[in-house]
Subunit: 349 residues, 2 copies
């Protein structure tokens, strides 16, 4: 689901929607804050929405999140649209401090799609849901004429139960807090890009698609309310998530660039393609802000979970420069890391 | 959301997905029961799903429903995709006996769409949600290349709180029960068909899109647990909803054909086009099965609600012929009313 901050932005004045408006970066933010939120969500109060919206129904504290998946191609090394549609939604709930409980999936299928392709993705949804410990409780299927979709699109909505031990909020982020990442970044985006065969590159890479709930759970078990904020850096990558954090908390995020885990294959592909790994989408990672005094304990907890061995402490929150993300290079030198601009990797999820 | 009954059907063996699989009739049912449910929902128990899935989280009894809207054209007399996307989801919650609480909306937008078109639909969502008394609490926006969608598709998921006074179930339906409809049928489907300009017909018709919650609420207030079952007859029309009911409860549904409210314009267009009004989609009606002794009280309650003046008692539940819908003509003569077969009116919602 899309991050939405305080609707203090100016009206959206672009005349036409283009690919960048769906890339999760600056243009997406302008569209959402300048048009979609003012028009549809006038009645919603609060500091804005994160990966999921939290609400109380009866006595239950719930989280709900929705995402459409339009990845191309439908299958790629390490995953497929069906797995993304489960894990992406599960992860939005997890980083919102919620136990994923139930999913509903709505399909838009292009007439002419081979049933075997659909069956494979439905099976992928079932397997991924079972692995993530959530039930698919309902769905919908629409078919549009051949040429009016691209194989299939899947929209998944997840319902979760908020863990009472968490109180996640950008307002809780303090100077001195530590920033942790759950593992290597950029694997998903580069894998999908290469799977399209449009660039003359090969690499031994797989999408990182997975449920991060076991990692989040271990973190919350270990340090509870000392987890201030979490986000899964999908479209727009880690750079965009951290810029949103910096903007929303009014502080500076300072990254130790060589502490950010990036595989050689991802780094190499990004260099050749002129991309920054910090802007590449992930589908099985999350970034967390943790109180400094709990950071080591938090990191140990993450590393003990299967799949958490490359979790790393990658930076800290500082007072200045406010609303800015900086990356400090190993041998000195500091650069400003911006949000994603444009859409170098369309339809990555 | 799609109705799913006991997964007792045989495997889905069609090689390719075609428009009929999205029409809400027989082919949809085969796809859902023969492929989608077995693959994705293996862990879900119960008698099957209705318009929404009901589940308990903590101490809250919740309903959740999802639907993708792909209507063409985006706007038509009386409504637009944005209004459908709110009302359709609200109605699925309402007929499941739930108070609609919150919505999330996910957009798939085609690159090149004029921002004004998007703005108009976002405003329509905001206005419809406000009218229906629900909050839009979140969303997602994806953009696909020009030619990979048809303007825009909207997937809306709704969360509701189940009214403890209701215990809706096909298992509660008894021979002798009365069947009520909330108003005229067929307005939506015929309006959208004519708005496409593909047939040489005009008629003074508007879509019936609206929230049926006030009507459902009045019904439940009046007769409470004597409401056995409700459904909003969208794709596939009233005939398909009643066939699903007949199949799932193992009884006969006998309609008094001239008691079913159909406007002259709808009847005329259907005659010219070779369609049965009972197969035409509605977006602002619901059908209810009510205990016979409460039927008059139920009908009075519906008719007192603004917009409920054409509510009618249209038939009754009988023992035989089991799993069959019959329509009795005014001057005698009985016909079997089948589910929708094929897809005469694609992308009606």
């Amino acid at each position: 689901m899309t991050t939405v901050a305080l609707p203090r932005s100016s009206a959206f004045t672009d005349a036409v929607i283009d690919m960048a408006h769906g890339a999760g970066g600056k243009a997406s933010r302008r569209l959402i804050e300048g048009l979609i939120v003012p028009a549809t969500m006038a009645g919603v109060a609060g500091e804005g929405l994160g990966d999921a919206a939290c609400l109380t129904v009866g006595t239950a504290r719930l989280a709900i999140t929705t995402d459409s998946f339009v990845v191309r191609p439908l299958r790629f090394p390490g995953g497929s649209i069906g797995e993304l549609a489960v894990n992406g939604t599960v992860n939005d709930l997890a980083v919102s401090g919620a136990l994923p409980v139930a999913l509903v999936c709505s399909l838009i299928v292009e007439a002419g799609l081979a049933t075997d392709v659909l069956r494979t993705e439905m099976t992928a949804i079932g397997v991924a849901a079972s692995r993530a410990g959530v039930l698919v409780v309902g769905g919908d299927t629409k078919v549009v004429e051949h040429g009016k979709a691209d194989g299939m699109y899947i929209t998944t909505t997840g319902l979760g139960q908020v863990d009472p031990r968490t109180a996640l909020s950008v307002a809780a982020v303090r100077p001195g807090d530590s920033i942790l990442i759950s593992g290597h970044i950029g694997d998903h985006g580069v894998t999908v890009l290469l799977a399209r065969g449009e660039v003359d590159l090969t690499a031994n890479l797989r999408s990182d698609t997975r449920s991060v709930y076991p990692l989040v759970r271990a973190l919350v078990d270990a340090v509870g309310p000392d987890v201030r904020w979490m986000r899964d850096p999908t479209r727009g990558g880690l750079a965009t998530s951290l810029n949103e954090l910096a903007r929303d908390c009014g502080l500076a995020i300072v990254l130790e660039e060589d502490a950010v885990p990036v595989r050689d294959e991802v780094r190499g592909a990004c260099e050749l393609l002129g991309l920054d790994p910090l802007h590449i989408a992930n589908e099985g990672q999350f970034v967390a802000v943790v109180a400094a005094e709990s950071a080591s304990r938090a990191l140990d907890a993450l590393r003990r979970v299967p799949g958490g061995d490359s979790a790393s402490m990658i930076g800290r929150v500082e007072v200045a420069p406010a609303r800015t993300v900086l990356a400090v290079a190993p041998y000195g030198g500091t650069r400003v890391v911006d949000m994603l601009v444009g859409d170098p990797l369309p339809r990555i999820c």
